[in-house]
Amino acid sequence: MEPEISNQSLFFLIIFVIVPLALSYYYQLGVSKNVIWSTVRGTVQLFAIGYILTFLFDLPARYGIPFMLTVMIIIATFHARQKGKGLPYVGFILFGGLLAIEVGVLSLWLLFDMIQFKPSEVIPMSGMVIGNSMTAMGLALERMKNEFKENNGRLLASLSLGAEPKQASHLIVQNTLHASLIPNVDRLKTIGLVQLPGMMTGLILGGVSPVMAIKYQLVISLSIFSSVSLSAMFITLCMYRYFFNKNKQLLQTDEEIRSSRS
């Protein structure tokens, strides 16, 4: 029997909304409107995506999968681009990076028969890889911009001693990658101990045996681990050069960086 939550049961979820609403009212936090709006919006969004997924899962794999993956990568690109505002070509580079990583991961999954080329398998799994890569790229961009600001003096010192931009930014690239990878490594270390990962929980609730659920979880966790590492490395190594001009000079302001390539 497939587990199902009846509409009536679903209705009682309203209790979970009433609690923060009551708190907001009692302590005069002024967030009641926001709580209601977020709940309604979240519910509508989820139902909408449920219907879209049902539609996509019914499409032949060769249309549905490329279509949905392209949409996901485009949305992820726009989202991550916010963090790299002002950097030249950042949109193209993000899109290219996300596409290459998704294609690489998907090919491995299919090649080694870990999943089947069916929308119901490829789309949720890819969504997790693309989403995590997007966050990793965004964080790496943000971190790199801060590192360049904080280490302005060191970069000038290094360039003034005759370093190439690549040599001068070595420390920054190192710090950026370190900061991007460490939470990822930590997450993998405690996986299953602190909380059961979402995908595994979902599969177990769906009636799949825990060992089978763990196998899927391993596939996705290690795929995410690898794609997040690659994403951070890719974006950092592609973007650091835009902080310098062709005369190996450090660009100090966002305006200089923006206009350097135009």
Binding site: A157, S158, S160, L161, G162, A163, N247, Q249, L250
Partner: protein, 228 residues
Amino acid sequence: MFRFEHVYQGVLQDINFTIEKQDKVILFGPSGAGKSTLLFLLNRLNDPDQGDIYFNGKPIEEHSITALRKQVGLVLQAPNLFPGTVLDNIKYGPSLFGDWEEQQGKKLLDYVQLPSDYLERDVDQLSGGEKQRVSLARTLANSPEVLLLDEPTSALDYRTAEEIEEVLECLMEEHKLTMLMVTHNLNQARRLGNRGLFISDGQIVEDGKIPDMLDHPKTEELGKFLEQ
């Protein structure tokens, strides 16, 4: 050695001057006058918007950028040391060009009057004055012909600043370096410089010998600046 012809960059307006080998030039003037910008032009950390700069008779842009930066060393106001040991910092420049030799380390520390056991010390353990000495040694490690100093003692206390001055005085004497130094400290200017460039509002207002310039200013602007 350096020639500026009608150079414009940021605040700098129509800058013209020549620097001969072994000149010890002090750049001084009010804050924001463009003194640091001028130093950055010599090391090509910046390029002019307009005008020409010549180095050893050749337009500056015809020199290889990294080779020029090796020849024209820059010491900034803050030491900006790289994480690691004193040795890691000192060998940074020469290692970029593949000409670092281990025995150089002790000699360089000797130049800046630091004991040789400092080589393995972590830079985080150094005092402000020691850090600035390491920064100086790091620049000297490239064996530059020209030394550009951008207020190297302004962040240090009076005593430490004097010690650094002493180090610089010995270095100039020993290595026959050409020097351009930005400073707000007029005693330092007297002690280390033989020529002064007074810059105000992006222009060279007075160019002359030190101490004449400080004792008998020719322009009203310099006179007012010295009174402050």
